[in-house]
Amino acid sequence: MSSVRTRILEDSQGRRASFDDIRIGESLGEIEWQVTDDLIDLQCQLDQDFDPIFFPQAEGGKRVAPPQITYRPPRWLLSRTHNVRGLFVRWENESFKAIEPGTTLKVSGTIVEKYVRKEREFVVYEAEGRDAAGDLVFRTRRTHVLDVVERSAPREGAGIDSGIKPEKI
């Protein structure tokens, strides 16, 4: 039995981004995002981490968000610019400041690199988040493979999933 492997051409959000569409140095724009108590609850639920550091018990105790709550906004920036499904393959991050509920982060990103390895196409983008005071809260560098299937495979057909999703955790 033989099967022809293909890369998805399009999905409900339009044509998938090609490697050539993505330019090194290209801005991914900026997004403002408020971290609320509900979002912290949801992140802790997803991660199954209910440590008191995220759920202070004493009245007046300072609540903070898990640092990984910042995963989504940079991904949304990539999705706003390019319809990329693929897979997330590398995640670098540094946290500079605790994120308390009510914090509004201004997140901006840029495509910094792209390369081909093992016949697959990778894009690298960097993003940082700053609070209302302009202080750096986090910095991240992400690598994404555009397709699971090798780049020699033709693009055709429609995907069910899309990299462009509702902007929520």
């Binding site: 998805i8 990984q68 997330f88 995640w91 299937v149 999933d161």
Partner: protein, 140 residues
Amino acid sequence: MSVIDSKVAAGHELPTVSKKFRLEDFKRGDEKTIHTDYDAAAREGLPAPVAIGPQVAALTFRQLRLCFGDGWIVGGRYDLSFRRPVFVTDFCVARGIVTKTERENGKLRVHCEVWIENQKREKVIAGTASGLVPLAGESA
């Protein structure tokens, strides 16, 4: 609270954090995605739905939060590679080991090698991470 203090040395094993995933862990409403739907995954060239990477990496984040407490929330760094797909019903365990320590702005930065294994003991996520701990005799 953190379980690692400034007396830690290279070779110290981090506490493990593990989870048996279920497909339901990755559902968001009725959305059909490569994380929840066999056909959606197959069209992308995947043999089965794959876990959402950050939700698997969260095992490592729990481990590091446990180790460093506030020194993970502020000052935590990581560089993780998603080396193999994690399928949505896999068992995963986060492991790690301290590799070195160094002083940084009045604290001790503890560097670790971290990884997550699946039920076959294959490393599915691997990389490095570090957090800060107060130096002995100094307040956090």
